[in-house]
């Protein structure tokens, strides 16, 4: 599954777009962390909550549910929220 990586996280992936495996958004993030250790904790805190300025989109739709089921054709965009100055 294609995952679009925002620029603040590209030091981990070195790429704008990477492949990850998983049946849910949560599994995708765990797979990303296996490939790029540390990347998940920058987005998801120790209580398994999405950090305040991170956002996830599936095929352009914003998703907050980590259990959201995915289809192989889905495209995931990780976005740094437009916040701050």
């Amino acid at each position: 599954m294609k995952v679009l990586i925002p620029s603040p996280l590209r030091p981990y992936t070195q790429q704008r777009e990477v492949d990850a495996k998983g049946a849910t958004l949560g599994e995708i993030l765990e797979d990303l962390d296996r490939a790029f250790p540390g990347i998940r904790f920058r987005m998801i805190d120790e209580q398994d909550h999405v950090r305040p300025h991170m956002r996830f989109f599936i095929n352009g739709e914003q998703v907050f549910d980590m259990d959201r089921a995915l289809r192989p054709s889905d495209e995931i965009q990780i976005v740094q929220a437009l916040s701050g100055g």
Binding site: P8, P11, P37, G38, F41, D45, E46, Q47, G84
Partner: protein, 401 residues
């Protein structure tokens, strides 16, 4: 993950241009580690500490709370980092910042049980290498207040002792809105050089605490400390130590810059004495940093701040000055030669002032306006090392052999 871009530049201080070949080499040089709101810098001095080269920025755009060299191995650097959007982490370098690797497991609170609201580390605020006989062991303090320990040189971190989830400590820590404007802090983790099981830490807010058994149990050390007018000093939550330091030459002597004054504690006594009463009334004894002399337990330095009315957090009257005591706080001497004599509306944060171990001692502080200042003569005269850096959060030194 490799380190971010960095640049090296030769700087000059007091109009003196570096001349490498003309000087006789001294046995060691001083490195000054500067953590800022937008990255980290390492300044390396020549043996006389007159000229400095700047190495940085490291982690440009990251909020760096502290960057520190392990004095036990002389090569491991840890940097506590986060960005405005990404969660907190710790970076580690063993080649003096040429490359950095991220911690495998940064400090994080335990996951809450179902239905309970768990705490989240916003940033690691304070780093302390453990005892000299405990190589690779580090302690970290976080915001909100949490105490963590690494036994593998900063790669993985776990809660240290049970205080992070202890109901009494949680009450003393207060809620997140009870702390300083950018979050309540765990800081001033001090290790007794005579005994690795004897530690202190302080919390803003939440008082000063001591263990003599490696964190199995803790005692509160707030006797003699004042709290804000109208509040009860018996309530630990109201105690706000800003910075506590242990004298290297006498680990039984602690100095503290508190929200409510400057104090000294001589163990085994448990009662703090407010030595800041001897500061000039116009200046007061409010501030954040506290610095102690490496070889003389009667000498300490503070950087007073305007803590009146709404707490402007600037130098009093816009006239920045260090104050030094040479007699354990009985008298204080103003040290402002070389500093702006007017319209200097900055101050110095609690981790942003430190000393080296040279003779005479070098002092260093970084300002909220991004200036790095140094004194090669224990505060008698100050010169500027760098301007136009981001807001400086922490300054630490190391002796480079």
């Amino acid at each position: 993950m490799t380190g971010p871009t960095k640049k090296t530049a030769l700087l000059k201080t007091s109009g003196t241009i570096a001349k490498k070949s003309a000087r006789k080499a001294a046995p060691s040089r001083v490195a000054v580690f500067v953590a800022t709101r937008k990255g980290a810098w390492i300044f390396k001095g020549d043996p006389t500490r007159k000229t400095w080269s700047a190495d940085g920025p490291h982690f440009l755009g990251h909020i760096i709370s502290q960057i520190m060299l392990d004095p036990r191995d002389g090569k491991t650097l840890l940097a506590a980092a986060k960005t405005g959007h990404l969660g907190p982490t710790i970076f580690r370098s063993t080649d003096f910042g040429k490359t950095w690797k991220e911690a495998g497991r940064p400090p994080a609170f335990a996951k809450a049980k179902d239905g309970k609201r768990g705490r989240v580390v916003d940033h690691t605020f304070w780093l302390t290498p453990a005892h000299a006989n405990e190589p690779n062991v580090w302690h970290a303090g976080t915001s909100p207040q949490g105490l963590f320990r690494s036994e593998d040189g900063g790669v993985t971190w776990d809660a240290f002792s049970t205080i992070n989830d202890d109901p009494t400590y949680r009450e003393w820590m207060g809620a997140e809105q009870d702390g300083t404007p950018d979050g309540p802090k765990m800081h001033s983790i001090l290790i007794d050089p005579r005994d690795p099981k004897h530690l202190y830490f302080a919390m803003s807010s939440g008082g000063v605490h001591e263990t003599k058994n490696g964190g199995q149990s803790w005692d509160v050390l707030v006797d003699g400390l004042e709290v804000v007018d109208g509040f009860d000093a018996n309530t630990i939550t109201f105690h706000d130590p800003h910075c506590v330091r242990m004298c290297p030459s006498n680990p039984d002597r602690l100095y503290q810059q508190n929200h409510c004054g400057i104090y000294r504690l001589d163990r085994p006594s448990t009662k703090w004495i407010r030595v800041g009463r001897k500061m000039p009334k116009r200046v007061g004894d409010v501030g954040f940093p506290m610095v102690v002399h490496p070889r003389d337990d009667k000498t300490a330095w503070v950087f007073p701040m305007d803590g009146t009315t709404v707490w402007p957090r600037t130098s009093p009257d816009g006239k920045p000055a260090v104050y030094a005591t040479r007699d354990g706080g009985a008298h204080w001497e103003r040290q402002d030669k070389g500093l702006p004599q007017a319209q200097g509306w900055w101050t110095v944060k609690r981790q942003a002032m430190t000393a080296d171990a040279k003779d005479p001692v070098g002092l260093y502080f970084g300002t909220t306006s991004g200036e790095l200042w140094a004194s090669r003569d224990e505060g008698k005269r100050w010169s500027n090392i760098a301007r136009h850096l981001p807001e400086i959060y922490a300054v630490d030194t190391a002796d480079l052999k």
